[in-house]
């Protein structure tokens, strides 16, 4: 079974430029997450989708970050414009569903963003 797929794996941009990350979750997983991981830190949640609906986006910096999950499968995370402090690894994860059970989140390999 294929895992969570992310692209690109690496991205280098200059500040003020836009950037987008793409994620394809594990087949059949209804819940999708975007996390940001700074160097030497654990991942921090940016946004959580259940199907097409963003149900937890309280930690997404909405002035420059946006996300979408059309048709409840693939998702795109965008930053516009990028700032130096956005340099980090952006991780996508998916789980079967959220509800009464605690579902395991499976992570993709991440996109390493460097903002110059």
């Amino acid at each position: 079974e294929a895992g969570v797929v992310q692209s690109p794996r690496y991205k280098i941009i200059e500040k003020k430029q836009p950037v987008a990350f793409w994620c394809n979750p594990i087949s059949g997983h209804n819940t999708l997450y975007w996390y940001r991981q700074n160097l030497g830190q654990g991942p921090e949640l940016l946004i959580r989708y259940e199907n097409e609906e963003a149900v937890d986006d309280s930690q997404l910096p909405k002035d420059r970050f946006s996300a979408e999950r059309l048709k409840g499968v693939d998702s795109t995370l965008k930053i516009q414009p990028a700032e130096l402090g956005d340099s980090a690894v952006y991780l996508c994860a998916s789980s079967l569903e959220q509800g009464v059970s605690t579902d395991t989140q499976y992570f993709g390999p991440g996109t390493r963003l460097t903002v110059l």
Binding site: G42, L45, D56, F107
Partner: protein
């Protein structure tokens, strides 16, 4: 405020030298505690989920335990391939943040031959 603290930050072991990693947490309403392994340049890889105090789970040389305040990841007779960063995360039962994982900073384990 929910907090997850892992110790030590880094640990160097000789092959075969058993040890334990600690994850202490302060959350209101624990739904689950997760252990992940992360290799350089890769995403976290799921290891275990623990739900209640007293629970234990094992996988090869790893054994995870849970109390009401902390979790331990015991590594028995480690091998160089066990070298990685081990991340602990908790999930709370609060409706507004249901599903959100709160991660610690991780313990970077190095096992040398």
């Amino acid at each position: 405020e929910d907090q997850v603290t892992q110790s030590p930050e880094a640990l160097r072991l000789q092959e075969g030298e058993s040890s334990s990693l600690n994850c202490s947490y302060t959350v209101s309403g624990l739904r689950g505690l997760f252990w992940y392994r992360q290799d350089p340049g890769k995403g976290p890889e799921f290891l275990f989920t623990l739900y209640s105090a007293g629970e234990e789970k094992e996988k090869e040389r790893l054994k995870a335990t849970l109390t009401k305040k902390e979790s331990f990841l015991h590594i028995t007779a480690p091998k160089p391939e066990d070298s990685a960063t081990y991340l602990c995360a908790v999930q709370t039962d609060r409706g507004s943040t249901l599903g959100r994982l709160y991660f610690g900073r991780g313990t970077q384990l190095t096992v040398w031959p």
